[in-house]
Amino acid sequence: MGEISKCAALRFLVNYVPTLPIALCYRPLDPEFISFVPRNMKVAPAPDAEDALLLTFPPAGNPVELRVSQDRGFLPLQYTVKSPQGITITDIVVEYKEDAHVGWIPSSWQSTFGLASYLPAQSNQVEVTNYALNEDVPQDDFALEFPAATWVNDGIKGESYVIRNNGSHRVIKPGESSRDFDKLMNDAQAKED
């Protein structure tokens, strides 16, 4: 299945938990952060570490706290989202390693997050296994063609279609969406032939 939709640039990077620490490190000023507005931050010493600061943000949604390192260019060390009642909803602790060429790199992070305060919290541990900064990126890396026999929901055009073997689209008509995909595809191919 394929999907097409309009989106703000890099929305995925800055609002997706698995990549959030990378966004906080390298794109902290991206306007697509939905959880906080950097320019509205308030700064205070972190209570638990001499070299850390605690940044808080007026709640756009739930209150957000960001602990940063003074000695490492204000890198984010911990990202916490709390409920209006002060219960931690999401907590991400980031570790870094120093690369002689590109500086501090987020190397791992641990997250805990609760879907609701009355449910047990889930957790995850992410390890960076490979990285590169400022290397040439082939233009093809940002292209994605849907192969034949893909059902595509196009949110921009407001239609769904299947892709025939010749690459043309067979639009799904109202009432057809519940039809068996293989039958739809065979039908599309028969008309193509």
Binding site: E3, T19, P28, V126, F142
Partner: protein, 142 residues
């Protein structure tokens, strides 16, 4: 709001230079409390934003491969699901340059809709404010 940061040991060893800065801070602030502030030790929003911008501007493109281990305890979803503890493993690849990006997500997870463990694999590209996602055949779309 700016605040005072304790001087580092390196700063303390600067002798006359350090005293000079304290004295300068006293003169500028006109009060004994702020005399504890070294002129180059202030850290406030503008300083932080400037450092963030510098790092953001310095990194034009980035590529990260990540391995995830996720622990999903019994009952961490509504209605007591899943029925037992699970540990899931996943891999991500992130490739971004400017406002363009590619993200690959491949992992197992608990599907609340299907009430079972499913595989999720997809690739998403972002270009010209359009997001295109392709889900692997046989993998669930969540």
């Amino acid at each position: 709001m700016d605040f005072v940061r304790k001087p580092s040991s390196a700063s303390r060893s600067c002798g006359f230079r350090w005293l000079h800065r304290w004295f300068l801070a006293v003169l500028l602030a006109g009060g004994p409390i702020v005399a504890l502030v070294a002129a180059d030790e202030l850290r406030g929003p503008e300083t932080i934003l400037a450092a963030w911008k510098q790092r953001q501007d310095r990194v034009h493109s980035l590529y990260f491969e990540m391995a995830e281990q996720r622990t999903v305890p019994k009952g961490s979803f509504p209605e007591g699901k899943p029925p037992r503890d699970f540990v899931f493993f996943g891999d991500y690849v992130l490739n971004a340059r400017g406002t363009e990006g590619r993200f690959i997500d491949a992992r197992s997870l608990w599907s609340t809709e299907q009430s079972k463990v499913v595989d999720q694999r997809f690739v998403t590209v972002y270009k010209n404010n359009v997001e295109r996602t392709l889900f692997d055949k046989g993998a669930s779309r969540l």
